[in-house]
Amino acid sequence: MERRQWGAGLLHTRSGRSSRFDRAEFQRKWFVVPSFFGLILSVSIITALTVGLGQSAQALPSFARQTGQPCGTCHTDFPGLTPFGRLFKLNGYTTGGGKFRTTLFPSQDDATNALAAYAKKFGGGQDSAKPGQSDTSNIWVPPISMMAIVGYTHTQADQPASSPYKPNNNVVVAPLSFFYGGAITDQVGAFAQVTYNNAAFGGSAPGAFNPDPCANCEWSWDNIDVRYANTGRLGNMDVIYGISANNNPTVQDPWNTTPAWGFPYAGSTIAPGPAAATLIDGTYAAYVGGVGGYAFINNLVYLELTGYRTLNFKTLPKLGLDPLGAAPFQNLAPYWRVAIEPHWGNHWLEFGAFGIAASVHPFTGATDVNGFAINQTFPQTDRFTDVAFDSQYQYQGPNYWITFRGTYIHENQKLNASFNNGLSANPTNTLNTLKAYGSFAYGNDNRIVFSGQYFETRGSSDPTLYAALNSCQPPDTTCNPNSNGYIAEIAYIPFSSSSAPVWPWANVRVALQYTYYNKFDGTSLNAHSNNTLFLHAWLAM
């Protein structure tokens, strides 16, 4: 479930904050199978490997093992969430009921005895069933899962060749992730992801960061969300509340209208993408750490407040990230989230708002004696204030889900530092992104998902800031970050139900995704050349 954009190390391909580093230069293939046949081969190897594992798995396999529920319970357009999926997340990934116990430190025994005592007291116990085998004795399985996306990327026009990739039609296995997903104790659970990526940062180019401490460390930590969650009563209203520690603003959000878990869920790591993105749109994914509290009151009102801080320069490489990837915050950046989700019959309608405000010290770009960038930032700060409005409508039919989502993010940039140090032409900029998405997921057992999205980024033009963009190459001088286009995807999930042979040990999501650019990085001039066809198999064990 990784957002491919920051899987590519320094510069997340979907959009770059500072575009000073050329993406292709940092590509390094992990293993590339030259032809289409290769894709089939690798898919079959991996599937054979997993089937051999015996029982079957799915959703985040460790969740399936923990809950015993098929994919369809929590996911509509996988990994998009159903209301129950959201409740599972809000309950801190701790609820279970499946064949396997994944909790590290279960307080299971005394809880079960408490239930039994309660039952004896109230039930009168005339027909108390024989004390059979209690649930704690089922096999303990470490809540470890892994996932790999084997993707074939074809762009309409050839991209500039960058070893080890061919200009076009590459087959890449990226990212490859390992997860810890499940309950740690009865009240605390985690969703932690570590990703191996073939687009490692570092290299010989001048101005690049000296990778010396971990020359080819291509492992990096990815979405992490560790939660304490509990339920309680506020007056006569039920409340699910908890505290979440995470490293990516909106990764902890239950709805898929927020950037961290927004569509497209999987994209090609080597395909081109619009450079500009708002701060909350994944720019600081994995570069920050935050702790916050949330509450979901009466299954209706969701409130959350989290404070984020950027990690310091030294720890970032240890976590496999290029410290120059995102500029440090001045102090705590508050993130807030408010949402209301009326639910009637089989309909769920959510609408809400979220936002973040951060003061950022941009890097000066100075290099040391042998040309490697050093940790130096401007004294002034750029003030980014994001405010976003989102809405989602979900309808559950007998064996299908219909989902519509809309997200509008408005970013207000006060670029005091960048403007005064010649990094941007205007003192203030705005950047808005709009996403409108719809999907139809059919079939409880094996599921077919048709989804489509319109995306648009529009912002004020800034010749200095957006100098590298297509719209700033003469004769075009508009230098604006505007791009828009469509993404369509058809996905098929064969082993979605518990009757499947491989459930709950492994699953695969085969998808064909086509991205069509109407306008790319400010111009529609050969924007079509970036249209990408991405056929991928998403394997999860």
């Binding site: 015993g68 809880a111 039952a119 089922n138 509990n230 039920d238 409340v239 639910h343 019959g345 139900s497």
Partner: protein, 222 residues
Amino acid sequence: MSVICSETFQRSFEVKGVKARIMKLTRSRLAILVISFAAVFPRAGHAESLAIRNCTWCHGVSAQGYNPAPGLAGQRREYIQSQLRNFSEHTRDNPFSQLYMWGATANLSPATAHDLAIYFSTLPPQAADDGYRALEEKGKAIYQLGMPDANTAACVVCHGPNAEGVGEIPRLGGLAYTYLKRRLEQWGQGYHATAKPPMPGIASKLSVEQIEALASYLSFVK
């Protein structure tokens, strides 16, 4: 809780001219946040066993139901037990039963099922109140007196005057309109056919309007 968006958040502090205190406040806010949450929401008052939370995950924190999951609070103990058995034996084969409950009960030990049944049966039920008021009267007539000319038996005879059920016969009072409607329709479609008579027979005689009226009436029964 007013919608705090970052600009107003920013301006309100500057307006009060307490810029210096922002730093201290923001750093301490985290602390306030943590304490306030833990204090405000008292625990549910009894050992919240994980087995219970496996159910309240979907059936609602106080098991009042969260469609498509029906309310469990106040349901008859023997009914919960027999349905859990039906789920694990796959005899209750309605679509959502298959999707959600077969997996949920695959590893449920009889002892836990028995204790859970008692626990939920002791919770006070709240009416879902989500039916159509206009149909309530018609539904009540069908429930209390049945429809002799349509040969439809009166539900009150088995389910009781306040639809509280008895023994293995379920409580219907207060359940959600959509759930009741779906279940009644599915009886007619032949799901859960191996259930003991008379339900399959009775429900299959009900027309759509009668089902909607019944479901509406029952959703308001306290």
